[in-house]
Point group: C2
Chain length 427, copies 2
């Protein structure tokens, strides 16, 4: 019998409790032993819950869960309170208890330290639910691709942003309207800053990169942009170019180092990721031997996330032992951040419609040796000025950004330029 203590009874926690009860027999036959919930802790004991915790010991302070002698695994699903989660994780591992969490921030920021502790005691540190909900991204990287070398990975990792971009695309509405629609339908939190500014995607990317490349997560080297400045016009231009705009987390390893960034990007409509709409997540993993593998599904929500937690528990019950990040914590490399490799770029400018404007812009691009693949100027929009959209041939990101900075300083440029990477796709 594997004995579980659970901290946090929100949407995911309640779904785990229900899953353990409803699936008890099936789980036992798959796990080789029964998995039983022995103790729980949550903020408010009296609150109505979507799960049945009768007969389960209640503990007021989650930190006490780590101290219970009849517990094998502590599951942390408190959400938000990172300091408390870290404290619980450290205490649980120190006490020789396996630790399972869905907390991406905890793992992206403190995962290596926790992995060291897990190895020392020795227990499992598992966090499949932290990235991509029920999609087995971490298991695939840590196990299925353990005999391969992942060279590149990118994907749609935030359902809120993808829902917003999908609605903006399909209905031609502004960002703000799509955001409030997402909030109304429960796809976005009231405080959605970490989603729409790319922070949530960055946390997930940092964890994926660690597992894919065997390097400690490094949030500081992820250049992160959000989707707040995307307009329906961008989506329309992208469509005319045979592309869709998606918020990507992107990482590529080369001999020089690791390129990693989060930001909106154009991907061709033939890419499997282009068709991923609504709140779904999808990730492309490129392995040297395996080629492209694409995994897609629901990246959030109580039921899918609870499935990942249950899978981690069954792995532990089956006696699975693997380092949390695929290799021992002491052997994790340090990310040497490098600038993105040359690629095509999309640039949208809002310009004052006067003679010579385009000559000024193209002059700056020429001076930076950046060559233009397409330039599109259209009549006036509702706003002041006219939009000019430029597709640049392959160029170094650092050079492109420098050019855009110079262009932005021109008096004829009326708004902040919108620069996006284009991630091409070969089936």
């Amino acid at each position: 019998m594997l004995r579980i203590a659970l901290a946090g009874l929100g949407t995911v926690g309640a779904a785990v409790v229900q899953g353990l009860r409803e699936g008890a027999d099936l789980i036992a036959s798959r796990a080789g032993q029964s998995i039983t919930l022995q103790a729980v802790s949550a903020r408010d004991k009296k609150r109505e819950r979507a799960c049945d915790i009768s007969g389960v010991r209640w503990v007021d302070d989650p930190r006490q869960l780590a101290e219970l002698s009849d517990i094998d695994v502590v599951v942390e699903l408190m959400g938000g309170d990172e300091a408390a989660a870290l404290e619980l994780a450290e205490a649980a591992l120190l006490a020789g208890k396996h630790f399972v969490t869905a907390n991406k921030k905890l793992i992206a920021e403190h995962g290596v330290k926790l992995a060291h502790s897990a190895e020392a005691h020795p227990v499992q540190l598992s966090f499949e639910a932290a990235v991509g909900g029920g999609i087995p991204l971490l298991k695939t990287l840590r196990e299925a691709l353990a005999g391969d070398e992942v060279e590149k990975l990118y994907g749609i990792l935030n359902g809120t942003c993808n829902y917003i971009l999908t609605r903006m695309h399909s209905r031609g509405i502004e960002f703000a309207s799509a955001l409030s629609e997402a909030q109304k339908h429960g796809y976005a939190e009231a405080d959605s800053g970490t989603d729409i500014k790319g922070g949530d995607t960055a946390h997930k990317l940092a964890i994926l990169v660690a597992l894919a490349f065997g390097m400690a997560p490094d949030l500081t080297s992820i250049r992160t942009e959000g989707i707040e400045h995307i307009t329906p016009l961008d989506l329309q231009f992208a469509h005319e170019l045979g592309c869709r705009v998606k918020l990507l987390g992107f990482a590529r390893r080369s001999q020089k180092g690791v390129e990693q960034w989060v930001g909106p990007a154009l991907i061709p409509e033939i890419s499997p990721l282009a068709q991923v709409d609504g709140a779904l997540n999808s990730v492309l993993l490129h392995g040297r031997r395996t080629g492209d593998i694409i995994l897609q599904g629901r990246g959030a929500g109580g039921a899918p996330t609870s499935s990942a937690i249950l899978a981690d528990l069954i792995d532990i019950a089956r006696g699975f032992k693997a380092p949390a990040f695929g290799i021992p914590a002491g052997r994790l490399g340090k990310i040497k951040a490098v600038e993105p490799q040359p690629r095509r770029h999309y640039l949208r400018l809002q310009v004052n419609d006067r003679p010579g404007v385009v000559a000024e812009i193209t002059g700056i691009l020429r001076d930076e040796a950046l060559s233009i693949e397409q330039l599109l100027q259209r009549g006036k929009t509702q706003n002041e000025g006219v939009p000019v959209t430029i597709i640049l041939h392959e160029g170094e990101g650092v050079v492109v950004r420098r050019a855009v900075k110079k262009i932005e300083a021109l008096p004829t440029i009326l708004a902040q330029p919108n620069l996006m990477a284009i991630e091409d796709y070969q089936p």
Copy 2:
């Protein structure tokens, strides 16, 4: 040190040998110990090979590999010779050696017996490479979805057929031309019967079903049709209906039993599987908690398949223990085959263009209480007669087939009717 013996040095075997050599350090750090190739066996010792087997013991008879005392794992990649594979598997497991194979036929037909033996001795029986090449389909079902209940799964499991259908669709060519093109490009064997008639897909489906539903593989209850009778006209009509034609392996579990079949089917273009072109594979797994998960990638080829073999070896080196089919062999259920649930159908008839023909056909459908959603009659084709295409509203497969049998008996019907399921998709 995990000591490997390998039987078979074809494309996959050679890729495994190269992978173990090139990736030795990385594999050791991931696996927690080195994995070394100790002995090999193949048909012809003198043949030129794409891999370096210098310093590795050569054994003429693969059966001897099971008897070597300094071997922990036997890897079987002989391909084709099923009797020899079975003999080797039984001997290896009996001798307390782990057994890893890519042989889908072996597992679909003898997997349960081998799983019993693996449990008795106790060692691992692993066959990730048998289905979907480098796509972690079996690991996902056995581990990532172990806390969930899979209710339905279907997918494109044969790259040869998908390549042929893709070329027929994109170039409007006949089946025979597309097949010889596939053979020319190495996507199809000279003897491609088991691919195009659906047999290969059926073997893979049987294994997926066993893992998904916890039931012994049962090939006999899989209704299997191939793609030989698909015409460019079918693909064109499908396109006009907003669909693509794909050879699917399909399974669904209900309270009544298990529906499983292999055959060409129409799927809407909004389905992620519709966009899967060329030799790629893609599978949709529908879990009760997780919803739809889609996994996609290269389903064959030396490099991707070798990655799956290496992953199985690393799992073994890490000490992973799980029943081969997810639950103990003795607890695997017996499939109670049921007819497909009601769904829409596509029916193409080649009819003699005479008054009253359509009345006769629709009369038969009416008598079977099958209602028509669309009926399309077009001018003459190059062949005799005219094509009539009918989309039927949801109906029981058994009723639809009965009606089609009656229609086929009409003297005005000039060729064998082409009946295909339509598998609808809700994102």
